[in-house]
């Protein structure tokens, strides 16, 4: 069953290659069909292997493929355990739905096959990332995911914003990757291998707290890049320049969760570094808060979702920071469903509005787009944390785990709760502004429901957004048990009694309902409220973080580079070389004076020198 798992990587890769080189000749239907086909096939191959874990017959297994870089012992190898199984299901499953959705969404684009080639490349990269059996391979997937993201964000490269956004995403991710890379150096220097099995079994014995802290913090730098955490989250909102299915696939459901996945994968190491855990939890909470504060004022529907993604990622990072790895992965899974749903729904709306993304020019779309409306409603309630939708269970589990940690973590719990309130508020704002109220679009627009290739994925995702939470209720922690083989050697969260969980759940639910009511009361009226005042302005410009980075990092960097290019290199270094050259020339022109051109002078000089030499030789030789 696991023998065929390499195909999960190879098939999408094949699809990408075929579409890249022959896509134009294949034509739209074949190119798109092929692309969907390989992802569905990947999913189908992984299903039985995943089910074997559910039934309990499955076994954690490492599968050797080939030797890659022998001098560092890095092999291409697959680690198949429940964690990679869950990620495989999410990536190929949600991925397949988004592929299907794109069939309709991208119809008529002149680079249609190219788009599907990139999508397939992304799935392949993501599968390399989640299936890898060692850090080196994981890094390969990690960077390739960044590449596919770059290609997809700047897919419409004739728009300068799209091209710039793609570049920004890649470079910011690279900064994160640098942290990962340095972590890899320390890992190799400590363990002499990158193999997960070897590292995780020997780590508790040989890893000092200092080394563990260094490794995990650096790994977290990588995670902060991919999972859009402070201070590296700035690329994600810009990434919305890409086609909407891309936002759904990469910037909501899969790629951005890579950081969370990586921390969960390396849970053993993170357990050895309590300081890192605290740092991660704080960064996650802060990210969740800042992103939520920005999300409340955004008027672009995709920007709202982008910041809400950052905020939710903050929750996941908080979870893994406090050691609630299963809760983090659980939220990752439910979020993949409802955020993909929300993005695809938004895409459906944008499609219907002929490219309009400003919510102030929407409203009243309920009647024209019933399927989108209902499925979006599910997504809205799920992310807001309303019982019994998926988001409620997973978010609550994170908050409960944080609370149970006690001490200063209670503060984080309180902040998290506040973020949950904000989330419910701004999601309600978005939902109401888009679908309810009176239409605010101009006469030229004729909104309509999207084709079946787009609505069917919405319905499927809607189903999971309702039900996915039920796999891990406090009453029956099925998901946690399922993941157990992946977290061997990782202690459980202590102090979580059923009574405490229920109490906290009720608190969360009340807060979520309050947020929804707040948003409903504020926006469910004919005139949109004026969003005026210092806070709204600051929030709308995302607290000018980009400007800040521009002034503090980019501009000085450019100045230094320019100085080096215009002064250091030509004046100082080359100046020295030219100085030497000038010196030689001057010396030469002085010596040149001796060259009278008169042969007799030379001959005389030689004769005199010869005589002198004879005397010198005689003197040295003792002839006198």
């Amino acid at each position: 069953m696991t023998d065929l798992l390499w195909l999960v990587i190879a098939l999408p890769l094949l699809g990408a290659v075929v579409n890249l080189f022959f896509g134009k000749r294949l034509g739209e239907p074949v190119a798109g069909g092929l692309s969907v086909g390989v992802v569905v096939a990947s999913w189908a191959i992984a299903v039985p292997a995943t089910l074997s874990f559910v039934t309990g017959s499955g076994q954690v297994e490492t599968i050797y493929l080939f030797s890659w870089i022998p001098v560092v012992g890095a092999d291409a190898a697959i680690l198949w355990d429940p964690l990679s199984a869950v990620m495989t299901m999410i990536v190929t499953g949600v991925g397949a739905l988004i592929h299907i959705y794109s069939l309709g969404y991208m119809r008529g684009d002149e680079r249609y096959p190219r788009f599907f080639a990139f999508l397939n490349l992304f799935i392949a990269s993501m599968m390399i990332l989640v299936l890898s059996a060692n850090f080196a391979m994981m890094f390969v997937g990690w960077e390739l995911v960044g590449l596919s993201s770059y290609l997809l964000i700047s897919f419409w490269f004739t728009k300068p914003e799209a091209a710039a956004a793609g570049k920004k995403a890649f470079i910011v991710n690279r900064i994160g990757d640098w942290g990962f890379l340095v972590a890899l150096m320390i890992i190799f220097a400590t363990f002499g291998t990158f193999d997960f099995g070897t590292i995780f079994t020997t780590a508790p014995g040989i890893l000092t707290v200092g080394a563990a802290t260094a490794i995990t913090l650096l790994l977290f730098v990588g995670a902060a890049g991919k999972s859009a955490q402070i201070p590296l989250y700035i690329w994600l909102p810009d990434a919305m320049e890409g086609p909407t299915p891309v936002s759904a696939l990469i910037h909501a459901a899969t790629m951005v969760t890579a950081g969370v996945f990586m921390i969960a994968r390396a849970a053993v190491l993170f357990e050895l570094a309590p300081v890192s855990g605290a740092v991660i939890a704080v960064v996650g909470t802060l990210t969740a808060l800042v992103a939520a504060l920005i999300a409340v004022s955004q008027t672009d529907i995709k920007k709202v979702l982008a910041y809400s993604t950052i905020s939710q990622l903050g929750f996941m990072v908080l979870a893994v920071g406090v050691g609630a790895y299963t809760a983090g992965v659980f939220h990752l899974a439910t979020h993949a469903f409802f955020k993909a749903l929300l993005f695809l729904g938004a895409g459906s709306v944008i499609h219907a509005m002929a490219g309009e993304q400003d919510m102030r020019k929407m409203g009243g779309l309920r009647k024209m787009m019933p399927v989108t409306f209902i499925t979006m409603a599910i997504g809205w309630l799920a992310i807001s944390g309303i019982f019994p939708f998926a988001g409620f269970w997973s978010k609550d589990e994170i908050l409960a785990a944080t609370f149970a940690k006690g001490g200063a973590f209670i503060v984080l719990w309180a902040v998290g709760l506040f973020v949950a309130l904000l989330t419910a508020f701004y999601m309600t704002r978005m939902f109401v502004m888009t679908f309810l109220g009176r239409p605010r679009w101009d006469g030229g627009t004729h909104p309509h429901e999207s084709p079946a290739t787009m609505t069917v994925p919405l319905i499927v995702l809607g189903f999971f957004s309702v039900s996915a939470g039920l796999v891990n209720t406090p009453a029956r922690l099925a998901f946690e048990h399922f993941l157990e083989p992946s977290f061997v050697g990782v202690p459980h969260i202590k102090g979580l009694t059923l009574g405490l969980i229920v109490t906290l759940a009720v608190v969360s639910l009340v807060v979520a309902l309050a947020g929804v009511t707040w948003g409903w009361l504020a926006y469910r009226r004919d005139e949109l409220p004026a969003e005026d005042g210092a806070f709204w302005r600051r929030s709308l410009e995302a607290f000018a973080v980009d400007d800040f980075y521009g002034r503090v990092i980019v501009a000085p960097g450019k100045r230094v580079s320019t100085w080096a290019a215009e002064t250091m290199d030509p004046r100082v270094i080359d100046g020295a070389a030219h100085g030497v050259a000038r010196g030689v020339l001057r010396f030469g022109s002085v010596l040149g004076k001796l060259q009278t051109g008169q042969v007799r002078g030379y001959a005389g000089g030689m004769a005199v020198a010869g005589v002198i030499l004879i005397f010198v030789f005689l003197a040295v030789g003792g002839g006198f």
Binding site: V71, V72, V140, G197, D569
Partner: protein
């Protein structure tokens, strides 16, 4: 059969054939020169295929004595370090000759010089007699000088003279050191002198002698590499040179320096190498960051790639002086990869230059719309150069960084920031040249790459992917030769390579079902 001698001689034979072509028939020159560059590639492939894997010793050795008294002879042989340099040289010459279609003036001399250059380069990598090595080292200089000064662009006179003066300065030190070493070696063997590399390995050198000779060799190679702050000849030479010369310059010529460091400095003077490893690695790291920083703001695309070479060569030097198996092997792999990726980038820039006659980034914009194939190729080469995993650049860089951290942690962490900078300068350049709307009306009428141009690029593309995905055969051939350098250093100095820095220190991995007993709850 004297395979290597034939290999070295073949391009010269080709050059003679081209030179003897009738004056009127200029149309014959291009195809025949191209044809003449193929046999060396075939022979190089023969050597590659028949190279014994896992054998650290020199292979295909030939030894003909010229003069007993001065200890000069024709000694050529190949090991894991030179093997791929030879293959790279033999591969890139047909490609760059094929890319020289746009040369119209005096084609015959151009091709003759190219083929002489190939002989020179092959000789440098294969000669184990230092007298002959030096002769080849210098032979390379002349055709390259002429190629730049006769077929270069506007500022060619300055650039070619600068190239010659910088290199010749280094050569002076090299020659003096070679002669000194040969005489010392001869002294200890009871002859006047010996230029035989294998004899030099047996020579006992005092510390002072090691340092002086190391410096002499080192200056020559540092200029060739080029190591900061000897790098200023490179941007000028690269930018002014015709496409094929830029390709050869970046892909092969710079490797003479790196090769020299490995073959001579590290091997012959272990004690000096250990003591001077840190300063040299520092210069390498400065070069990485400095080259990358300068590449970011270059307005000229060819200069940008030239500075990126300075940055990449810094990685190679860092790897060479980190003195671990991973770093040294990675360094050699990076040499191959840099040859492929930078070669590809220069070829591509040449192709667009042939169409537009401008190298200014500002003159471009939105090119991906007009020339999608070209844009794809360029992005591919740029990403390979920026060290994207799965492509060749990453493999070498990764091995260098992982290996260098073992002995030079701080420097390596600084060096790794070059990875970020590389992404910045390459993607920013790509953004400005290829994306956005087509602003310059002259660009709208450009035709995309033709069959000939795609065919020129294809082998490079395939090798870049191949080396990135399955580099094991390459590593397996390089590693033993690198291993004996380290053995020698450990045997003659009190330096010890960290356990993880030798192949034996890399943990064995077990595959199959994982038993839970492995973890302890």
């Amino acid at each position: 059969m004297p395979v290597l001698t034939i290999l070295i001689a073949l391009p010269i034979v080709g050059a003679i054939v081209v030179a003897l072509l009738p004056k009127r028939r200029t149309e014959l020159v291009y195809p025949i020169a191209l044809g003449m560059s193929i046999p060396p590639l075939v022979v190089a492939m023969y050597v590659l295929v028949n190279f014994r894997v896992g054998d650290a010793a020199f292979q295909f050795a030939e030894n003909v004595v010229f003069t007993e008294a001065f200890g000069i002879g024709w000694i050529v042989a190949v090991d894991g370090i030179s093997l791929f340099m030879v293959v790279l040289t033999a591969l890139l010459f047909p490609i760059s000759i094929a890319a020289s279609r746009s040369i119209t003036s005096n084609v015959k001399s151009y091709m003759v010089l190219m083929l002489i250059l190939e002989t020179g380069l092959l000789g440098v990598f294969l000669a184990l007699d230092l007298f002959v090595f030096f002769a080849f080292f210098e032979i390379v200089l002349i055709p390259m000088y002429l190629l730049i000064s006769l077929w270069g662009s506007e500022n060619r006179a300055y650039a070619s003279l600068k190239f010659v003066l910088f290199t010749a300065t280094g050569s002076a030190f090299l020659l003096a050191s070679i002669i000194a070493l040969a005489i010392i070696t001869g002294d200890q063997m009871g002859t006047l002198a010996s230029f035989d590399f294998r004899n030099m390995l047996q020579t006992e050198l005092s510390s002072t002698a090691q340092f002086v000779l190391f410096a002499g060799f080192g200056i020559a190679f540092a200029i060739k590499v080029p190591l900061f702050p000897f790098h200023t000849w490179l941007p000028d030479a690269h930018t002014e040179a015709p496409t094929a010369a830029s390709v050869i310059l970046a892909a092969v010529l710079l490797k003479m320096g790196a090769y020299g460091f490995l073959r001579f400095n590290l091997t012959l003077f272990p004690e000096a190498a250990v003591s001077l490893a840190v300063p040299l690695a520092v210069l390498g790291v400065v070069g990485i960051v400095y080259g990358a920083a300068l590449a970011i703001v270059q307005p000229d695309i060819k200069r940008l790639i030239a500075y990126s070479s300075v940055s990449h060569m810094g990685f190679i030097v860092l790897g060479a002086f980190a003195l671990t198996t991973q770093a040294l092997t990675g360094s050699v792999v990076l040499m191959i990869s840099h040859g492929l990726t930078t070669g590809a980038l220069f070829l591509l820039v040449g192709m667009i230059y042939d169409r537009t006659h401008t190298r200014e980034i500002a003159d471009y914009g939105g090119l991906a719309r007009v020339m999608p194939v070209f844009a794809g190729m360029f992005l591919f080469a740029a990403l390979a150069s920026a060290g994207l995993p799965g492509l060749s650049g990453f493999v070498g860089e990764f091995a260098v960084l992982i290996g260098s951290y073992l002995t030079l942690p701080v420097l390596t962490v600084i060096a790794s920031s070059g990875v970020i900078l590389a992404a910045i300068y390459l993607l920013w350049a790509y953004e400005r040249v290829f994306t956005g709307p087509v602003t310059n009306p002259k660009l709208k009428v450009l035709r995309d790459l033709g069959f000939r141009e795609v065919a020129i690029m294809a082998p490079l593309v395939v090798l870049i992917i191949g080396l990135g995905v399955y580099p094991k055969p390459v590593f397996d051939r390089i590693e033993p030769s690198v291993g004996i350098i380290l053995d020698r250093i450990e045997a003659t100095t009190d330096f010890e390579v960290p356990a993880e820095g030798r192949l034996s220190g890399v943990a064995e991995i077990e595959y199959g079902p994982v038993h839970e007993s492995g973890g302890d709850n």
